[in-house]
Amino acid sequence: MSYAFIALYAVLTVAFGILPALYALYLAFTDAEGGFAGVGNFTKVVGDFRFMPAVGHVALYLAIWLVALVVLVTLLAIVVHAVAVRWVSSTLRLIFYLPGALAGASSVLLWLFVLDPAAGPIGGLLHLLGFDSFVEVIVPANLPPIFAVIAFWTGAGGWIVIMYGALNNISADVIEAARMDGAGRIQIAWRIQLPLLRKWISYMGIMSLAAGTQLFVEPQLLSQASNAIVPNDYSLNQLAYQYAFQQNDFNGAAAISLLLLAIALALSAVFVLRGGLFEKD
């Protein structure tokens, strides 16, 4: 009977979780005629002149984003947690997390507006920073921070709310005791709150790292909106897309996808098996 309960889910798991991965594996190790290609596809894509720049772009973006996420989310959660007035605190959390409703293309579009000095809401600020045109704003050097800002804007709120919840779980007695000992607010945050948030911070970091390697929609739309000054092979997923649909090289595309998948799998496996978050089962 149990098998009947899980049947549909198991079929979906096989069809859209396991088989695609295996099929990508098969394609990545074969050539266009279906013959065994060894690591040929991997050496080809890694040797592609677009590959290393794409790795560099994604890595830089991730570095900026993860640091911002860890530092700012923790800081904001602790600060908001310190707000004593109930409705203020809950309003703040709502404001922070509402942008999460705008994901994918919508949030990128919104930020295209925001970053346009001619029409956007922060045109004055952009002019002040020396940007007079949209093209100047989106020069390649600015892209990693721009993508990090977009990702932070949509994603941070949810994490702030979660951290806030975790902070609520710290018993008031512990804080009170620390205060009796003469600990200031900053010391309490540093000595008591931060260590208890560690698990959440690592969870957030790993999830975000895995998601960040998949960068696609942001550069894809920016490429369209910048007349290709942002190239359409900016990120690894875009490169895989180019391989599949421009060069018609599914084996190469599969090789890139597999590399990306391997990173994501490794991260989540490490997390599940050793992270201690799912300890009980």
Partner: protein, 458 residues
């Protein structure tokens, strides 16, 4: 791990994949409403395999926003033909959306639009070829689908970007030869002469920088900068020598002289790095464009366009493209869109009617189109109409003449020169680097892009 272990894997996998296949096929049957492409007329009367035809079928037309006017004109003239418009980016600036989407439709086995407009000239290179065992997207037009008289009516050479191995695969929308646009009123007021050579042009630019700072003689903000300046200088950046071979050499004198000239003019502020289509450009330079080498379609697209520079009547003049001293003048070409008919169309007749209409009929090409029509008869009328409008300060003979002067050493490869320029050069120019220094980088970028597209590079 030994090799056997790896090589055994595919066989095991294919069994599993087949299993999924059965599952998915069962699902397809519920959802699929005829994949098209099966059991079709294998040869077709036009020289390519075609599907069963239905003269009443609606045709789907992909155009960029600019070409919406063409569809409207067609609908007005042919109300009986059902047309559905889908707007897309026109594959502009090397986005390759035309190609990638058609490859997706190839995979899907259905969904191809009947007629597609592309702003690029490099689509015939792929659209004429089979991909992944699927028939070529582009219908052969010379095999009876489009009357020979119509094809012959195009300006000689204008169908070159559409022609692969002697067969025509698309119709040219307009000729996009670069000419020298200038503001006659301003030029007269400042007491300058129209430059006949690029040396004069540069000298004039330097003079303008000194005497009338703020006025400009060109731009390098758009991805077609190489086509306007480097093509016209016979720079061998895009020497397509065969279906899969290209010669790239940007270290030549021809390339360097253009780069040096632009470096000087960029530095002195007379050739800004701003796209002519941006609001900033309009804001900063409306009324300040003294000279502007650029394609024929600049006339309607930026000068005589209330949304853009909006140059008043009687001021805009046009001159032949400058020559390099001691050489005969040649010029470049910036796009000049192309219309493709899908070989998968269910209503080839309507599709062909449509493509013929938008490229040849006066209702669109003469009365609406911003650029110089590629269809000769329409081209003549367009020139007459433009001249008689009294808008221009000069006659338009230089436009016609420039059409015959396009240098043939610059080809239509499968990859986009504009995308390469936008990616590697535009940001570097914005960063203040000199074009002369960037030439080797440009060459490498072109070679790389050609190689990943399967070209043999020399």
């Amino acid at each position: 791990m030994g090799e056997t272990a790896i090589s055994r894997r595919p066989r095991r996998l294919s069994g599993a994949v087949r299993g999924a296949g059965i599952l998915a096929v069962a699902l397809t049957m519920a959802a699929c409403n005829g994949g098209g492409g099966t059991g079709d007329n294998p040869s077709g009367s036009y020289g390519f395999p075609q599907v069963a035809q239905d003269d009443k079928a609606e045709i789907t037309v992909w155009v960029d926003a600019d070409r919406a006017g063409a569809v409207e004109a067609f609908k007005k003239a042919n109300p009986a033909v059902p047309v559905k418009v889908v707007s897309y980016d026109g594959s502009a600036n090397g986005s390759n959306s035309f190609r990638t989407k058609m490859q997706l439709f190839d995979r899907a086995g259905s969904g191809w639009p009947d007629v597609v407009f592309s702003t690029q000239n490099n689509d015939a290179a792929w659209a004429s070829q089979k991909t992944g065992g699927k028939q070529a997207f582009a219908a052969v037009l010379g095999g009876g689908l489009v009357p020979k008289a119509t094809l012959d009516g195009f300006t000689p050479g204008s169908l070159n970007p559409c022609t692969v191995e002697g067969k025509v695969y698309c119709l040219r929308n307009d000729l996009a030869q670069a000419v020298l646009w200038y503001n006659k009123t301003l030029l007269d007021r400042f007491g300058y002469a129209v430059p006949a050579t690029w040396q004069d042009y540069q000298a004039l630019g330097e003079k303008v920088a000194r005497e009338h700072p703020g006025y400009i003689v060109g731009t390098v903000g758009d991805a077609w900068t190489p086509e306007v300046y480097f093509w016209a200088s016979k720079c061998q950046a895009n020497g397509i020598t065969g279906p899969k071979s290209v010669t790239v050499s940007t270290g030549s004198t021809e390339c360097k002289r253009a780069a040096t000239m632009l470096d000087t003019l960029i530095k002195n502020g007379t050739t800004p790095n701003i796209s002519v289509f941006t609001p900033e450009f309009v804001k900063k330079y409306a009324g300040k464009v003294l000279l502007m080498p650029g394609p024929a379609w600049y006339a309607g697209a930026i000068f005589n366009n209330p949304q853009s520079l909006n140059v008043p009547k009687g001021q805009l003049g046009v001159a032949a493209p400058p020559a390099w001293q001691g050489e005969t003048a040649v010029t470049g070409n910036v796009g000049g869109g192309t219309w493709f008919i899908s070989s998968h169309s269910k209503n080839l007749k309507a599709a062909a009617t449509f493509a013929e209409f938008v490229t040849t009929a006066d209702d669109y090409q003469v009365n609406v189109a911003p650029g110089y029509p590629a269809f000769a008869a329409a081209g003549d009328k367009w020139i007459k109409k433009q001249e008689s409008s009294g808008y221009y300060a000069t006659d338009l003979r230089p436009v016609v003449k420039a059409g015959t002067e396009i240098w043939d050493g610059w080809g239509s490869g499968i990859f986009s020169q504009e995308a390469i320029w936008a990616k590697t050069m535009t940001p570097a120019i914005a960063g203040g680097k000199s074009l002369v220094d960037l030439l080797p980088e440009w060459e490498t970028a072109i070679k790389n892009q050609a190689q990943v597209n399967g070209y043999t590079v020399k």
